[in-house]
């Protein structure tokens, strides 16, 4: 498990509008990479191209390449459905399926594409995934209850359990804590630290402390003005980015001297 991601000269468009321009970056396996930058600079847009989720929006398309251990996600005949099984995603707002129990939420991805799973295997997988998301102890007595009855932080960890239940190679998180309280945020941050043993993790965050706490590398995106494309300004080890970045705008941004 866990694969390397390489973006090569990636441009992302919404229709004719160029939203992100010329991103080239290597993301190491078993590491946490944080994407930071002001609102509207294309962090969400970029992270969604890593599992082709941007294609959900009509007209959105990319030019360039994204390689997953050398395989181009945008090559001819590559099925986005299969890409998304390898590259899981956790969203800004927790989104467990409201009609499903906690157990069924965890198994939702596993049962897709007509796959069957023996009952005992399913039980084991539910426990493993919920333990993996640090949620098992809180919900083990109420696996049959709807996932929507949990607190926001628990729901988000349920979504992480659901994402890791399908054993992806990569886990993408777009501001996973921005709807959560500080305690729940810390729980998720601890979890990210554990998950990187097994997965390549890319996380978008607006919180500088969070980026410096959880990530190994940090990528700073910026935008020259509204209507201009977002660009990758600097990408380096997190310690370097927060102490001694090469670019003036990075330093301004991480130190809070920025809009």
């Amino acid at each position: 498990m866990s694969k390397r991601i390489e973006a090569k000269d990636l441009n992302v468009y919404y229709g004719d509008f160029l939203a992100v321009e010329g991103v080239t970056m290597n993301i190491e396996p078993r590491s946490v990479t944080a994407l930071i930058g002001p609102s509207g600079c294309g962090k969400s847009t970029f992270i969604r191209t890593l599992n082709r989720m941007h294609e959900v929006i009509p007209g959105a398309h990319v030019k360039g390449q994204v390689l997953l251990d050398g395989d181009n996600l945008y090559g001819d005949g590559v099925d986005p459905v299969l890409v998304r099984r390898q590259v899981g995603m956790v969203f800004q707002r927790p989104n467990p399926f409201p009609t499903m129990s906690i157990r069924d939420n965890v198994l939702a991805g596993v049962k897709l594409n007509n796959r069957r799973i023996a009952k005992s295997d399913a039980e084991a997988l539910v426990e493993k995934s919920l333990r993996g998301a640090n949620l098992w102890n809180e919900v083990k007595d109420r696996l049959e209850l709807p996932g929507s009855g949990l607190s926001g932080g628990q729901q988000q960890r349920l979504c992480i359990a659901r994402a890791i239940a399908v054993s992806p190679e990569v886990l993408l998180m777009d501001e996973p804590c921005s709807a959560l309280d500080p305690i729940s945020t810390l729980a998720i941050e601890d979890l990210i630290g554990e998950l990187k043993q097994e997965y390549t993790i890319v996380i978008v965050t607006h919180n500088m402390q969070q980026a410096s706490r959880v990530s190994d590398s940090t990528a700073f995106f910026n935008i020259a003005g509204t209507g201009k494309p977002g660009k990758l300004i600097e990408y380096d080890e997190t310690t370097k980015m927060f102490s001694n970045p090469n670019e003036k705008s990075t330093e301004d941004y991480v130190s809070g001297r920025f809009g």
Binding site: V81, F97, P98, T99, L112
Partner: protein
């Protein structure tokens, strides 16, 4: 709010604002008048139909009211049931196609055509059913009763005209299709993007996404849409009256020339020549239709309320 300060400083007492008072008056009047109208209809039906329950009942060879209304009530429910079986899946399919599969241009064209369908008067549907569809279906009915006659639904001799309860139900299905489609489409469009993306990000195909996110979210809306369609089917008069020649039978056979009629179409066909007792009998059947409609609505509400998630949850 306690009353003491208001009494102490009268300036704070709420002034009646004219616009508020007028608006409140109008809306209260509107709300009450709908209840009054419904009540008056019910009273009218009950009062006018009382003679039909007397001992000397004699309408169309039946000797009491139940014998008369039974086959009609059966025909009403049976025809509507058949229509719903056909219309609901097709409507859901069209609504899903419009909202999740069709390119935008095609989707709006189809939506427009469906809305047009809703504007066609029922007489036109009746003419189409009696003159076009019946003839078109005739060979199919003959084939069904020849080859599948062992199934009770297709037993006996096939209709020589094609004007069967199935033809009538198909016409009904086409008539209720627009309303069910339009409402389902609105519900499907409101599926939270959040849940659609959750399933897609897990590697769901489009159809799996629909099963996981769209249909569970839309379930209660589909039921409501179907109930509205069913209400229209139960009360439909002209289309049925033009397709079916009425006879008082209870029969599940779809392909026969002898078909149960429905309450509404029977009233339309019989009223012009009715006199005396028969008028009361017809009005009494109207009362029965009124009750069937209320029962169906109640059943639907009960079904919706029983499902814990659809009772107004997100």
């Amino acid at each position: 709010m306690s009353s003491a300060p208001a009494a102490a400083s009268p300036k704070l007492r709420a002034k009646g604002r004219p616009a508020d008072i007028i608006f409140q008056g109008i809306s209260t009047f509107a709300g009450i008048s709908i209840l009054v109208m419904l009540g008056l209809v019910a009273i009218f039906l009950v009062v006018q139909s009382i003679p039909a329950f007397g001992p000397d009942f004699d309408v169309k060879g039946t000797s009491n009211f139940l014998e008369y209304v039974g086959p009609l009530a059966f025909g009403t429910v049976w025809a509507s049931f058949l229509a719903m079986i056909m219309a609901v899946p097709v409507a859901i399919g069209i609504a899903l196609f419009i909202t999740h599969f069709a390119p935008r241009k095609l989707a709006s064209t189809i939506g427009f055509v469906i809305d047009l369908l809703a504007a066609v008067p029922s007489v036109v549907f009746g003419l189409w059913g009696a003159n076009v569809l019946a003839g078109f279906m005739k060979p199919a009915y003959a084939w069904l009763s020849d080859n599948l006659g062992f199934i009770p639904l297709f037993a006996g001799t096939a209709s020589g005209t094609g004007r069967t309860i199935l033809t009538a139900s198909i016409v009904l299905a086409v008539m209720v299709l627009p309303i069910i489609t339009a409402l389902s489409r609105e519900v499907f469009l409101q599926t939270p993007r959040l849940h659609e993306e959750a399933s897609l990000a897990l590697g769901a195909t489009r159809w799996e996404m629909i099963k996981m996110a769209v249909l569970p979210f839309g379930a209660s809306g589909i039921v409501s849409a179907s109930i509205l369609g069913l209400g229209r089917a139960l009360g439909e008069t002209m289309a049925i009256a033009m397709v079916l020649s009425p006879s008082l039978v209870v029969s599940f056979i779809l392909t026969s020339g002898t078909n149960p009629s429905t309450i509404a179409s029977n009233i339309a066909l019989s009223f012009p020549e009715a006199h005396g007792n028969e008028v009361s009998a017809l009005i009494a059947t109207g009362l029965v239709l009124f009750i069937i409609t209320i029962l169906v609505n109640g059943l639907a509400r009960w079904l919706l309320g029983r499902n814990p998630r659809t009772g107004g949850a997100k």
